[in-house]
Symmetry: C2
Subunit: 151 residues, 2 copies
């Protein structure tokens, strides 16, 4: 079968995803925040609570750099480190109310742009889009299980 053609579609597709994601977010990044810091906030927003190691693993950043950038976010009052019961080395990282408000605003803008692209879609097409997202995430764009944590 034409697996090579499928691979080419995969390449073109990932390029489009990168580009569209960038178009959706490029002009709504507040000052006070670098692109890397934004990606950390987005990750925290979706996966909170997280640990420093989670961020480091998922964003492919070294621990020292993760620590440094997170400190800047904490200094800006955009996220908080809470002690974790049971292991005092770890911190549960969450968005602060300000950080949550900021990310709510960002996601709101993104959602508006997303809906602008889907508003003319029929219910059938919407269902198809949702199904397509599910299929691809399950079969191709799944993320390797990171080495699991403990009990």
């Amino acid at each position: 079968m034409d697996t090579n053609g499928l691979f080419r579609k995969f390449v073109a597709f990932t390029a489009s995803v990168h580009q569209v994601k960038h178009e959706f977010t490029k002009d709504i990044r507040l000052d006070e925040i670098t692109p890397l810091q934004y990606s950390m906030l987005e990750y925290i927003a979706v996966s909170q609570p997280v640990t420093l190691s989670d961020i480091s693993d998922c964003l492919f950043m070294s621990m020292p750099n993760t620590s440094r950038e997170l400190k800047k976010l904490s200094d800006k009052r955009l996220c908080e480190k809470l002690a974790v019961a049971g292991d005092r080395r770890k911190h549960a990282i969450r968005l602060s109310p300000q950080g949550q408000a900021m990310m709510d605003g960002v996601f709101g803008q993104m959602e508006a742009r997303f809906m602008a692209r889907t508003q003319d879609a029929t219910p059938e097409l919407l269902a198809e889009i949702e199904h397509a997202l599910d299929v691809l995430q399950a079969s191709v764009f799944y993320t390797e299980r990171p080495k699991m944590g403990k009990s």
Copy 2:
């Protein structure tokens, strides 16, 4: 309808795509090349021939920075600038044979990883994946038409 749920899937999906793309490419980037330069090479490989402005527009880089980084790629003999008939300001940028060989190797590695994820898929699932890529690219992940060129 649950457009909000769909948007959340969109957000999770784009995050997965970024991550998987990174996992596919992180350890096959040769020395001699920075991440930004790699993204330029990948874009050139897929869209060649391109102009400097094309790269600048599609990769959201300023012209001066695009020019600088492309010069480094040219110095490394990974791409070539050819004169364009009809407009001597423009250059048709292509991969050099060395650059093409390098990108062939990179895409080969990526394809192996892609196939590792799809080798157990039935022909029906493969068809479904292909259809899903088409649907999403047409309805959500299409890129805005940049201001068109000339005649």
